[in-house]
Symmetry: C2
Subunit: 327 residues, 2 copies
């Protein structure tokens, strides 16, 4: 039978209150009694019942991470960094993978807020905050990461890609490329919307009319990157902007297959969500998101909110890096 606090108290000849205070450092305990208690703890191999403690204190030291696709290296990277940062603060991580599914996300939120987690970091698949708000109790610590559902006000950390996308496309235009294709990601996401706007604005400012035949709607999967690229090549593009690295993988597979060399036959600008080895040497231009930094900040932010609930909401916006050389 596992030892309880009463066993320790009995053995050390003190009250359970004293034992508790020794463990938590919540009150001064004389050196003498402290030593007795610590000895008893060791002797009995006692460790507090976490469930009982959580129940009593209302703190669980668990943070939920609600991600749309853990299989995507971008979100896996964020997971890793969140776990790392949280562990420094004494928190652990519960993962919910929604697979971009509304029901799964809602179920995850219900669960996490029902007493599992002290806070949530979420990259929501919903377009509007009102759709998830009912499942987030008032004042429940939440940090939105990467994506920002419309109407949300509160803690968030994301990367603003509008300017970088616009600049990259403008750069292509300046070099004389005019038939610039675009493979868009899931359209309801704020991150996608921003990139849409960057692409459109660059064309607009250069006085190039938007050709709907050059804009492909993808679904963030490799396969759709492949298919969209095929259509764009058929439509005769000489440059393309790809909104997400998973699709970029597929798109580049297609280019490879039909012998088109990037940098020579076609220019490719892609979002780069994480380090990729093999693509580097190719002349792909990338817009790199600081995923780790984002994750670290989100983790810190959720911890700060938990420990200081009356803190004002913070919207943290990071800038991506444009790699023209493909390095």
């Amino acid at each position: 039978m596992k030892a309880k606090i009463t066993d320790v108290a009995k053995m050390a000849g003190v009250s359970i209150a004293t034992v508790s205070h020794v463990i938590n450092g919540t009150r001064y305990v004389s050196d003498n009694t402290r030593k007795k208690v610590e000895k008893a703890i060791r002797a009995l191999d006692y460790s507090p019942n976490i469930s009982a403690r959580s129940f009593k204190t209302g703190r669980r030291n668990l943070i939920g991470y609600v991600a749309p696709d853990i299989g995507n290296r971008f979100f896996a990277l964020i997971l890793e960094e969140i776990e790392d940062t949280l562990s420094l603060h004494g928190y652990n991580l519960v993962v919910v993978n929604t697979r971009e599914d509304y029901d799964r996300e809602i179920a995850g939120l219900k669960l996490l807020t029902s007493g599992i987690a002290d806070g949530i970091i979420i990259a929501s698949t919903f377009q509007n905050y009102t759709e998830i708000q009912p499942y987030l109790p008032e004042d429940f610590p939440v940090v939105q990461i990467d994506r920002l559902p419309a109407g949300y006000v509160g803690d968030s950390v994301r990367v603003s890609t509008f300017a970088a996308v616009k600049a990259a496309v403008a750069d292509l235009i300046a070099e004389g490329y005019t038939r610039i294709g675009y493979i868009a990601s899931i359209s309801r996401l704020s991150s996608t919307v921003e990139r849409d706007q960057g692409y459109r604005r660059a064309l607009e400012e250069a006085g190039i009319p938007l050709d709907p035949a050059l804009v492909m709607q993808g679904d963030a999967r490799s396969r759709s990157g492949y298919d969209c690229m095929k259509k764009l090549v058929d439509a005769g593009v000489n440059a393309v902007f790809i909104s997400n690295s998973v699709m970029a993988g597929g798109a580049m597979s297609y280019l490879d297959n039909c012998g088109l060399q990037i940098g020579r036959d076609i220019q490719v600008v892609s979002m780069r969500d994480y380090e990729w080895h093999r693509f580097q040497k190719e002349a792909v231009r990338t817009i790199e998101q600081p995923a780790k930094e984002m994750a670290r900040l989100a983790a810190q932010q959720v911890v700060e909110r938990i420990e200081n609930p009356q803190l004002p909401g913070r919207e943290t916006i990071l800038r991506p890096t444009y790699h023209k050389a493909g390095a």
Copy 2:
């Protein structure tokens, strides 16, 4: 103030016991009272306090996943599949990333077994089970995945690569390749040991003496794959077996850099821990581990053990697939 079970009972005009039974279905409740209770639950937007329940029942419905490197796509893939499978059984996942660090692994185990989790799935970084045994309480549900610390007896799921590695190397020999290099992964791991043996045995059976200059000790990181490959090329290999896909990435970068074409200038056989797009078209031969299958089985196994503690320990061994065409 969040509603409690007493509020629901009061509103419905029944006892808290009845409410509890309605919620958990632990006893027959007449249609009439059930409806009253359900109505009150909705009216008050009541949901049970999970902490209180966990405390009382001793069940937390959380499973710990202790992984050596979540940043590695192999373990990320396993994570995803574990999460998926567990959610089907009503469990959630707590992730601990050890980064192949002994202390982190021990800290994680201590934590998870102290009342956070009902069970653990672990890919241990330790060579010997005796080193982690003290931190796993007797009868605590544990499933070892991918790696099997020496001396462990109990639930485990892994892939046996000895035969496949041996066959792949023998295949190279049969084709006339004689200077076959080997880039090994972290030497203390059971998975590495098996591959070592496969490589050695194939040479042995062909009567080829082992040349220590052709055996490189890597550390499972891309960088070391690159460096080891460099040394092997300098040593004049015409074929190589690489023990892990992360290192394979680095190794192939090096081959690329010095213009060596796989399949023509050098043969490469690599463990393939997950799907890789770009490598496929190259003539790399791969030994593919059924990572998802492994994860699914491990998750099922830990759930079964939790729900039926007197089940005998099961050692599940899966077979990898050898892809000669590189497909």
